[in-house]
Symmetry: C2
Subunit: 113 residues, 2 copies
């Protein structure tokens, strides 16, 4: 009786991808709207707007890690959120300046909605 241990050594090549955040000019309104169209992600954006930089755990403590990570990816790729690594922890911030410059008024509408 041998315990089968499936080692996926190759497929995890592009793990912990460094900054897949779009540049200021590359932020697309379609991606921003799609990211905001989810209760959890909208809550995260509002919390970041009110409290500034926060860690992942502070933002979504009661959510499964894999689910939370999915939402971080959507928020990052949309251009709404930037991340900063500090040791093991990931610190997230709203890209307020970029968003205000690209879509003036949008964040205010979303936050004080």
């Amino acid at each position: 009786m041998t315990t089968v241990t499936t080692v996926r050594s190759v497929s995890y090549s592009c793990l912990m991808e460094t900054a897949e955040e779009p540049s200021l000019a590359a932020i697309r309104i379609e991606a921003v709207l799609a990211a905001l169209d989810h209760p959890l992600r909208l809550r995260v954006v509002r919390t970041l707007a009110a409290r500034g930089e926060m860690t992942c755990q502070e933002l979504l403590p009661d959510i499964t890690k894999s689910t939370a990570s999915h939402h971080w990816g959507v928020l990052r790729r949309s251009g709404l959120v930037a991340q900063r690594r500090e040791g093991r922890y990931l610190h997230l911030t709203l890209r307020r300046d970029d968003l205000d410059h690209r879509f003036p008024g949008l964040l205010d509408a979303v936050v004080h909605g």
Copy 2:
């Protein structure tokens, strides 16, 4: 051999519902974001912003009637679009004043995105 004709006389009681558009104060940002998170509906909003009042057929000529009607419903209930009946035709308009008043800058961001 009788041809069964299922007559649904009761279930169509609330057909052609008159103005299920929310009032200015009742417009929710969540519904607006959800409505904008679809390529067809985003295209409709942008077309209405550029060309003003238009009929349903002018807006989505190549789309199935039932599918189009579904999208009109989403746009109406979100508060983005108002409708005016003229005979058989439905004329749609962007609720620009209401949206600019409720969420200043949002429509501009969406249209010139």
